[in-house]
């Protein structure tokens, strides 16, 4: 029976594996979009120090340059899920806690005037500052996918 318990926990771990893939620290992840020079789900960092453009740079030096004045829309959404894996392995009480992933979708025209759309996952620690920065410099308001997303931005 003990073996069965171990098997259940392992099985649960495997089933919930994708839930552990959130970005952390100050990082962001290019989830995908029309920019094909960078592979989907590539991690990197957002440099927002420049006043003209935000630059997403990957580990291997590839960049996505987003000129603020060319931004057409900003959309923020979340993926909220229960901590099923931890609940199964540690305590059912973890089901009362939600883990959130934060996504920013940006539509813009690139430096060549081509329409582009990119979805970025942001680490929770940089959500508020990133949204504020994009809003201020682009002059566009962030659209929230739901009231819950608006309420929990950055949580």
């Amino acid at each position: 029976m003990r073996t069965a318990g171990v098997v259940s926990v392992l099985l649960a771990g495997v089933l919930t594996l994708p839930l552990f893939a959130a970005v952390r620290g100050e990082k962001a992840r290019y989830a995908g979009g029309t920019i094909k020079e960078i592979a989907d789900n590539t991690e990197g960092v957002f440099d927002q120090s420049g006043e003209a453009a935000a630059v997403f740079t990957t580990k291997d030096g590839k960049k996505i340059v987003i000129p603020y004045k060319n931004i057409e829309s900003l959309e923020y959404g979340q993926k909220a899920g229960r901590r099923v894996g931890v609940a199964l392995a540690v305590s059912p009480l973890f089901l009362f806690s939600k883990k959130r992933k934060h996504f920013l979708s940006i539509r813009f025209q690139d430096e060549q005037g081509q329409s582009q759309g990119a979805v970025f996952e942001l680490a929770k620690g940089i959500v508020r500052s990133t949204l504020a920065n994009f809003e201020t410099r682009s002059g566009k308001q962030v659209e929230y996918e739901s009231e819950e997303a608006k309420k929990n931005a950055g949580n």
Binding site: M1, T3, A4, V7, S8, L11, A12, L15, P18, A31, G32, G33, T34, K36, D40, N41, G77, Q78, K79, G81, R82, V84, A87, L88, P92, L95, K101, F103, S105, R107, Q114, S115, Q116, G117, A118, V119, E145, S146, E148, A149
Partner: protein, 154 residues
């Protein structure tokens, strides 16, 4: 030992059942529509590399949708409880919902005939696929419900 084996067997039989029903990884399913050169419920891949056309590839057939001929985009979900996992592992899994993601694309073909396809998109690629479709077609996605809009990321 016998009890463990029975447990494992039941687990292996029951767990993959609901999971196999949804597309996984980068697979996309042509659920159905007016394209008759590809059978309904065909799994394949969606090529979004070309900025002019969306291409569905599968061993059973291919179809192409030019972005500038897209007339409508609609997104909806089918959400269900994880009964298989709940039965085999723990009832706590009933707190979690499994979602399937569907995009309906209306477009006109090269003969100006109206066409429509329903595609099931894997959960990790829903938002990015919708973003690509919106940017390249210039059309906005209609969400079937507020819940669908809220859970577009999975």
């Amino acid at each position: 030992m016998k009890q463990t084996l029975i447990f494992l067997l039941v687990g292996l039989m029951a767990v993959p059942t609901p999971l196999a029903a949804a597309v996984r990884g980068k697979e996309v399913m042509y659920v159905g529509g007016t394209i008759k050169t590809v059978p309904e419920a065909t799994e394949g891949t969606l090529d979004t590399d070309n900025p002019k056309t969306l291409i569905f590839n599968s061993p059973k057939g291919t179809f192409v949708i030019p972005y500038d001929r897209i007339s409508s985009l609609e997104y909806g979900q089918k959400a269900g409880r994880r009964l298989g996992v709940a039965l085999v592992i723990t009832v706590w899994a009933l707190f979690s919902k499994k979602r399937r993601h569907f995009v309906t694309i209306g477009f006109t073909d090269e003969n100006n005939a109206p066409q429509g396809v329903v595609l099931e998109i894997p959960k990790g690629y829903t938002k990015t696929t919708l973003t690509i479709l919106e940017v390249r077609s210039g059309r906005k996605v209609d969400y079937e419900s507020e819940e669908a809009r809220k859970h577009v990321h999975g």
